[in-house]
Subunit: 432 residues, 2 copies
Amino acid sequence: MTKTVYQPGDLRVDAKRINATLHETCEIGAAHRWGPGEIETGMCRLALSDEDKEVRDWFTAELKRLGCNVVVDAMGNMFGIRPGKKEGAPTAMGSHLDTQPTGGRYDGILGVMAAIEVLRVLKDNNIETEYPVAAVTWTNEEGARFPTSMFGSGVWADVLPLEQSYALADIHNPKATVKSELERIGYLGDAPCSYKDTELGAHFELHIEQGPILEREEKKVGVVIGGQGYRWFDVVVQGRDSHAGTTPLQMRSDAMLVAARIIAAANDVAVKHDGLATTGIISLEPGSINTVAKTVNFSMDIRHMNDDKLEEMDKDLRARADEICRGAARGCTVEWNKLSAFPVTKFHESCVDAIRAAAEFSVGKDLVRDIYSGAGHDSCQTALHCPTGMIFVPCKDGLSHNPEEWCTAEDCALGTQVLLDAVMAYDAQRQS
Amino acid sequence: MTKTVYQPGDLRVDAKRINATLHETCEIGAAHRWGPGEIETGMCRLALSDEDKEVRDWFTAELKRLGCNVVVDAMGNMFGIRPGKKEGAPTAMGSHLDTQPTGGRYDGILGVMAAIEVLRVLKDNNIETEYPVAAVTWTNEEGARFPTSMFGSGVWADVLPLEQSYALADIHNPKATVKSELERIGYLGDAPCSYKDTELGAHFELHIEQGPILEREEKKVGVVIGGQGYRWFDVVVQGRDSHAGTTPLQMRSDAMLVAARIIAAANDVAVKHDGLATTGIISLEPGSINTVAKTVNFSMDIRHMNDDKLEEMDKDLRARADEICRGAARGCTVEWNKLSAFPVTKFHESCVDAIRAAAEFSVGKDLVRDIYSGAGHDSCQTALHCPTGMIFVPCKDGLSHNPEEWCTAEDCALGTQVLLDAVMAYDAQRQS
């Protein structure tokens, strides 16, 4: 390396190696076979389980072999830091090693394995970066076993309180808390869990898209420019139960009719504002075929790429719901219980530019697309405290959180190359 | 009695006695106390339970005391037949003694106790009717313990097969079938269960409205001119589950959105045709707040007072559902599984006229109203084979199938007087 500034493609990832390592480590927690091929299974590697411990042990050993200093913090987040020419916060490459109970082999895992591959390329080529570079795995991104997603990065980012996260219990075993399980598997680290103590210079994350856009538009790389803001509600419609045969329509307070109209209206509101609205849970009482529903509970998930528009959608939807209650189904009331909310994330221009340049170098402008992340990611937490960027690669049919989740070997390697090039360019730019 | 033709009011019921007897027998199976008063409880007297046996024993003894011949048929339907001047099929007064698990004191019970009161009045006044008169209780009208409603009268009417009804099991105990429970409580009768073997000359039924119309319109008696036809469906919408954050609206096959639109459309269709449409049950899969629903199952209950209009509603609704599937939520399919259907019942002019005349005599034209029965009743089965009529009295807030179901003592007595006058007039008219 005699050039002063890194150019994309100066270093090349080993396409076979990244895929081989990904699938080798997926033997830890492989589950839900769906085809005869060696890698045709899904994953069940729940946060802080025995399988999580096993893959963390592998991660630790590999990081040490690659010359990294391994830091484990109080939430079990792991940082493998490879020194650079100068001291300073590392340019991090992070994602997560835990999966959904019926998860796939790419969600999170690809990002961590790609980081390992980048470190291997640096070692193989005896590269000394300007600043330290790190591979990171964040604890319990999925929120599947302990029901809060992204809590490792959330505590680090000071979005969630440490003690509250420690107290969370396994959804199937109230005796197994986050803290007791961190202790049990030996990953309750010494380092305080905070962006102030384990500072990051930047955070890059390679991830499968988990949606259908890249595939349908035949793009190879998504340059993620931000994450949608979202609000989650438990909506409760209260009406009055009455006999479905004997109660005239105009004398009903039909909670199910009101709920149906609100769900339909939410879609209209989302279309109008170019956002998203989804109802994924619903239940009603008393639940008899010939009884008008008294109470309906349903979830409402609204999302937008612009916080002001999200607020407008929220107001618009509540106004529509009030109107619906005043309408045909008189006497019904609607209550909005906010379960959680996350503002819009804007990724950092310097990271986004480095990723875009790297992607365009690898596959050409036409196969690259700016994209918003619809799902939450650890990068949405790191973005609160350091320059952050994400790379999306396509996944088959947009399918994720499913054993058949699939990203081609070619796309896994391509995403890793983009990560390598973006991180190297970013490191060089930190210098210049 | 020297008159040749009975005139309404010639005989009078004992208002205190009918109410006293109703509430005395409600001590068998009283449950769900909701107030401090003696009669401020609901009922739990499930079909073929120990409590049902106890009240049947009381009914048998009282019928015998009143000079009736008691016939029990193969479904446990009980006919207490008081001889008249001539032989022939009796003019029956029937309803049911079983209740919902959280039922009230009037639904069904009022009709049977009113029949007893009529027989008492006839005995007290040494009346010899032209034809026999009978008090009837039909088995398992509610369908609460054994999940088919009106099956006693349904088998009698040849609408349901006997063996199929015998095989039905207690919803909580698969070992207790209808047949084994009939045997256990001693009410598996010798008489074949058929309208051909236990012929009825007519069937009159006094019942609470179970709806809000009479009360809201301040009417005292409803002259029931028929029962609505109804069709029950289990509707299945199949879509595709996808991530609520990453799947653009136009790429979704959102089964919940389709279901919501169909439920809302069903109400529009019902308004348009002046019928009823209700969804009282709904569930979805996979059921996660940030996952677009793959499958939604919901019930659809449509009713109309006219069979042709009911058919039109059915067609209209399916067409609307297909249109909705072709619309925004592409790729969804909808399947209609018919669970049951009952055609419109038209009560017999001679019975309806006798009831109307009796009601108008008691309270005046202004307080009487023609009405359709929204719910199913044993009378809808008997109407298939003999002239049938029903009398409705108001119940508080239209509330039924609820421990707080309430009919005033005055209205119980009024309904019984109308039953007496209608049955006597009908008996006289059979003669003339």
